[in-house]
């Protein structure tokens, strides 16, 4: 077996893409390369590739032009923020440049399977949250939705709600990551919140919530209860912020 060449990057997304761009240019056989995040140790085992934002962006643009579907999968994969997958990503991108979008059918290749399956998971949660996110009306008329997703989906989720709820002033808040998105007056901003203070709800909020809870109860056919099916479609980890599941 050939010795694997080892490369390192700084752990950021830009760093990852600059490293991949560099390797694809310099290495004829990316399948014989290991790419990993640099650890804070005295002795580095591998060659460090510096981050170059322009190069990272240009790689992504080239990917999007060559294979838009695969580029979308990659951006979903990045939402998973999963470590240890860098070499798979490198190999996947190399395959994308040879096969284009057809690569997603190549599920027998381990790198394709790695990336596609993680991308699918992230995509599934993103789609789910588009339905399961719940806003509450605050005293000042703005709306707030809290969530604790497994993947870091606040950016695509927020841009989805920009078109859907464009006439409202709203916030999304990722409780675990402490990231917030704000939409107001046609502008979207992201930021981190160090100390979250729960704001007061508007006066009619509880009334509307009660209407929804009532609808939720009456729409079910009571002698066809099927909690297992309900949970498999709507896992319990999402119930915490679901208006209809409060007080259960």
């Amino acid at each position: 077996m050939k010795a694997m060449k080892r490369y390192l990057y700084d752990g950021t997304a830009d760093g990852l893409f600059s490293a991949i761009s560099w390797i694809l240019e310099e290495e004829a056989e990316p399948e014989n390369v290991v790419l990993a995040e640099r650890e804070q140790t005295l002795f580095e085992d591998g060659f460090f590739i510096a981050t170059n934002v322009t190069q990272a962006e240009s790689l992504f643009v080239r990917l999007r032009n060559r294979a838009p579907d695969a580029a979308y999968s990659i951006s979903l994969f990045m939402l998973a923020e999963k470590g240890g997958m860098e070499s798979s990503l490198l190999n996947y991108i190399a395959l994308v440049f040879t096969h284009g979008d057809k690569v997603s059918g190549y599920l027998t290749h381990p790198a394709v399977r790695d990336i596609v399956s993680l991308a699918k998971k992230a995509g599934r949660e993103l789609h789910r949250m588009k339905g399961l996110l719940r806003f509450e009306k605050l005293q000042d008329g703005a709306y707030l939705a809290k969530m604790e997703p497994n993947h870091n989906i606040i950016q695509p989720l927020a841009s989805y709600f920009c078109t859907r709820l464009r006439a409202q002033h709203w916030f999304l808040y990722d409780v675990k990551r402490r990231i917030a998105a704000q939409w107001s007056n046609g502008g979207l901003q992201f930021g981190t919140i160090e100390q979250f203070i729960t704001p007061a709800l508007s006066e009619d909020e509880k009334k509307v919530q009660l209407l929804w809870q009532t609808f939720f109860k009456t729409i079910a056919i009571s002698d066809r209860k099927n909690p297992r099916l309900q949970k498999s479609n709507m896992p319990m980890k999402y119930w915490k912020y679901l208006t209809e599941k409060q007080g259960e």
Binding site: S104, L107, T108, R134, F135, L165, I219, K225, N233, E244
Partner: protein, 417 residues
């Protein structure tokens, strides 16, 4: 009566309606308004019976003048009656939509004073939502048979999907069980909607700004088991509706006894398995290139209870098999039991790179325990040659001993308008 009580009565009365789909329409948000629709449809919650909730599904009123034998809201039945005002429905829809509880509204109604006055109030709801509130979310509106064509046209301009329920699979049954409804009053608006949809599509090709008419199409619903029609009659009716009326979907709803009216059959339990088989056969009509005459015939007028319609067809057609996975075209792959639309597409995609192996087929999602009797992979078969259908039947039965009804489609009739 306050809104909460009305909501309780009027969502309870709508609960048995089959259709919940919110997909198939793409409506952009207007700049000052609220909401859009998405092509794939979104579930916002799942109720305690496990069904997807995507729309605020309610009746405008359950205060019915008609007396259809199979319906809880028939005038001779003693239930609590309620009616929403148009404004109440508009406000509920908006408040729910702003909090992301729903994709939109599904509005149906019993016949209040007259079909026209009822439909008029329903149209007022959607008109207010679209024009005054600039609501861009999904709207499914039921047409009250017998209302004016002017109201049907208006409904189609504002709604994403409209539907007229066909109720029962034949005119004779309709006359017997729903004497105040007439076949023509059902078929006329259906045909009108079909024509309007087609012409709006043509116009929009010429001019993108031409108005849309029910962009998510029209659907209908019929009750199964309250009248004597066989499955072959029902499937041929559906096939005609898909082909001639351009329907997007036909929903089937197993009849559940709601009264001891002697015009109705006495059933021990709702024919849920039959309903399920009809949905499967309907699927074959729409996505698998089957015709009703291939699935059933006058000599064989009922769907097999033991096997799904595709497996039943395959067992009757041994000459069609085995199918070679690495060569067969898409239409042929689709005929193999255990291979669905997705897995057929995946097989075709995967074949580009290398031939598909049994391992690969499992990963792709092929149900091998069913498919293995009907396929070869690069010339290799999975079962001994000389597959006598009778033997395969037996084998399949053994493997299928645990098959249970999917609980997704448990539909009882309630209101069929």
């Amino acid at each position: 009566m306050d809104t909460l009580t009305k909501l309780q009565i009027l969502s309870g009365a709508a609960r048995y309606d089959a259709s919940c789909a919110s997909s198939g329409s793409k409506r952009e948000a207007s700049s000052g308004g609220i909401g859009n629709t998405s092509q794939s449809g979104i579930c916002h919650s799942w109720s305690d019976d496990g069904r997807c909730i995507s729309l605020l599904k309610i009746l405008l009123s359950n205060d019915c003048r008609y007396d259809c034998a199979y319906c809880v809201n028939r005038s001779s039945n003693a239930v609590e009656r309620a009616s929403f005002t148009a404004r109440e429905v508009v406000d509920l829809t908006l408040e729910f939509y702003r909090r992301n509880y729903i994709e939109g509204l599904f509005l149906s109604s019993a016949v209040m004073q007259s079909p026209d006055s009822t439909m008029e109030r329903m149209v007022r709801v959607v008109e207010t939502l679209r024009l005054e509130e600039q609501f861009g979310g999904y709207i499914h509106l039921k047409i009250i048979p017998g209302c004016s064509s002017e109201l049907v046209r208006k409904a189609g301009l504002y709604a994403d999907r409209i539907s007229v329920n066909i109720e029962l699979p034949s005119q004779v049954s309709l006359q017997r069980l729903a004497p105040q409804k007439h076949k023509d009053a059902i078929l006329e608006p259906m045909a009108l909607i079909g024509r309007e949809i087609t012409s709006s599509l043509v116009e929009r090709k010429a001019d993108r700004r031409a108005p849309r008419f029910a962009p998510a199409g029209q659907s209908t619903q019929m009750i199964i088991g309250a009248s004597p029609e066989n499955d072959f009659q029902i499937l041929r009716l559906s096939q005609g509706l898909y082909k001639k009326m351009n329907l997007k979907r036909v929903y089937y709803s197993a009849y559940v006894p709601v009264s001891d009216d002697n015009r109705l059959p006495v059933l021990a339990s709702p024919p849920l398995l039959r309903e399920h088989r009809l949905y499967q056969a309907d699927w074959l009509l729409r996505f698998y290139g089957f015709s009703a005459e291939e699935i059933l015939s006058d000599d064989l007028p009922f769907l097999d209870e033991t096997f799904d319609p595709k497996t039943a067809w395959a067992l009757r057609h041994p000459e069609f098999f085995p199918v070679e996975i690495n060569r067969a075209d898409y239409a042929t792959l689709l005929r193999v039991p255990g291979i669905g639309v997705t897995s057929a597409k995946r097989i075709i995609a995967a074949r580009r790179f290398s031939s598909v192996t049994p391992e690969g087929m499992k990963k792709i999602g092929v149900v091998m325990k069913r498919a293995k009797y009907f396929i070869t992979s690069s010339g290799m078969s999975f079962e001994k040659a000389g597959r006598a259908p009778a033997l395969i039947r037996q084998q399949l039965l053994l493997g299928e001993a645990t098959a249970t009804l999917p609980s997704r489609q448990l539909l009882l009739p309630g209101l069929f308008l």
